[in-house]
């Protein structure tokens, strides 16, 4: 295993038209990750394959978010989560991650896929505020308390976790999926045509089918 990375207060901004993709086993061990994953995280393939995905875990991520994630993943339910990740050089990057678990007819685990995209700064700010509260609670009273807080917050707003994510983006499920699946290769988009903010990319892609591509 690697040494502990020193976290830097410096963000890596993602290209909203690129997708960070990975395939893991049911324990979160990385089996495959695409080129953009390598580019952003700063790792080489041989440093990541066979390693647990939490090698990228940032200390500013509340444990309860990962608990929630695993609660979904363990029953093969798809889930989206907003995650602050730690790159090899100590910088961080925010992603909205979409997890999908593939099972055979008998419910036997086959593979898990995750794709991750850039997060608009407005969403980042909102999430960071919430995560900081959850972190404080975890520090003071443990994860059960932060879980209770998160549940209480959702109840108060009459939202399921899934709807809460959609609300953050202000998008319908279809629109967010459209954004999650949008991808434009470097060859297709060059120079001044290139849109650099996640907000703009979402605006474009949520006009259904414009840049849409079916995931899988």
């Amino acid at each position: 295993m690697k040494n502990k990375t020193t976290e830097l207060n410096e963000e890596i901004l993602l290209d909203p038209y690129k997708t960070i993709m990975s395939k893991t086993d049911n324990k979160g061990i990385i089996e495959y990750a695409n080129d953009y994953f390598m580019e952003v995280s700063g790792y080489k393939e041989w440093e990541l394959m066979g390693q647990p995905h939490n090698i990228l875990r940032h200390s500013k991520m509340p444990k309860v978010i990962f608990k929630l994630l695993w609660d979904y993943l363990n029953v093969a339910k798809p889930i989206k989560a907003i995650v602050k990740n730690l790159a090899k050089d100590g910088r961080y990057y925010w992603v909205v991650a979409d997890f999908k678990t593939l099972q055979d007819e008998n419910g036997k685990f086959i593979a898990r896929y995750a794709k991750r995209k850039a997060v608009p700064s407005e969403v980042k700010e909102k999430v960071e505020k919430l995560y900081n509260i959850l972190l404080e609670i975890e520090k003071a009273s443990g994860m059960e308390a932060s879980e209770a807080y998160l549940k209480g917050m959702l109840e108060e707003e009459h939202l399921s976790y899934d709807d809460f994510i959609l609300n953050l983006f202000g998008l319908s499920e279809e629109q967010l999926n459209e954004y999650m699946s949008s991808e434009i290769s470097d060859e297709m988009m060059t120079g001044s045509d290139r849109i650099v903010s996640a907000e703009e990319a979402i605006k474009k892609t949520s006009k259904k089918g414009l840049f849409g591509r079916i995931f899988n």
Binding site: M21, E31, Y32, A33, E45, W46, M49
Partner: protein
């Protein structure tokens, strides 16, 4: 070691025949000309003698699995010469079957167009890196399977598609380029389409 690339002419075909253990039994003239190894160096030796040390083990495993399952297969291979140069080829592997068991293995190797080479150079580097960083061949196999899923193709189709189809790769592997003068330029500058354009169906090179 192996830092200089040996350029290959597109009309060259390296042929070898192996026994079922992978021992070299026959090689053609292009084979000795290109590799610099003589018959004396090669006959009775393991086919690994011209394998580049950074060839991923998983690719060799795929080759042996195909042979055991009596399947013909196309592969991309990185090879070496006696002078410690390296060269990339597209290889076609066939096996002769007798009573359900391979009795002889044939490998035909040809010049690999640059466009295809670039893709495989990166992939093989990664696979070799994974295999040699404690991950081993199992992790490399998983990576390769994810890499292919990401591209939505089988390994075989990925190679075939990079020649723009089965017909093209077959044609490329089995015909002879006669217009040698057309290739006075450095073959590495050529696109697969340029090569195919000049490939003429003169005679089938059936060598066994």
């Amino acid at each position: 070691m192996f830092e200089v690339e040996k350029g290959l002419e597109p009309d060259i075909t390296l042929v070898c025949k192996l026994d079922k253990e992978g021992e070299i039994k026959f090689i053609n003239k292009d084979y000795t000309d290109v590799t610099g190894f003589t018959e004396k160096d090669l006959i009775g030796e393991d086919n690994q003698i011209i394998q580049h040390p950074k060839m991923p083990k998983i690719i060799l495993d795929i080759a042996w699995e195909a042979i055991k399952n009596h399947k013909d297969i196309y592969l991309v291979s990185k090879n070496i010469t006696k002078n410690s140069e390296y060269f990339w080829t597209v290889a076609q592997i066939f096996s002769r079957i007798k009573e359900g068991k391979p009795t002889a293995i044939y490998i035909r190797r040809k010049y690999l167009p640059t466009k295809v080479k670039n893709e495989f150079e990166k992939l093989y580097e990664v696979l070799h890196g994974i295999e040699n960083s404690g991950g081993g061949v199992d992790i490399a196999r998983k990576y390769l399977s994810g890499w292919l899923e990401d591209r939505g193709v089988s390994f075989q189709d990925y190679i075939i598609n990079s020649f723009e189809g089965l017909k093209n790769i077959k044609e490329y592997m089995t015909t002879e380029v006669s217009d040698k003068e057309l290739f006075e330029t450095d073959p590495s500058d050529m696109d697969i389409n340029d090569i195919l354009k000049f490939v003429k169906k003169k005679k089938k090179r059936r060598f066994w």
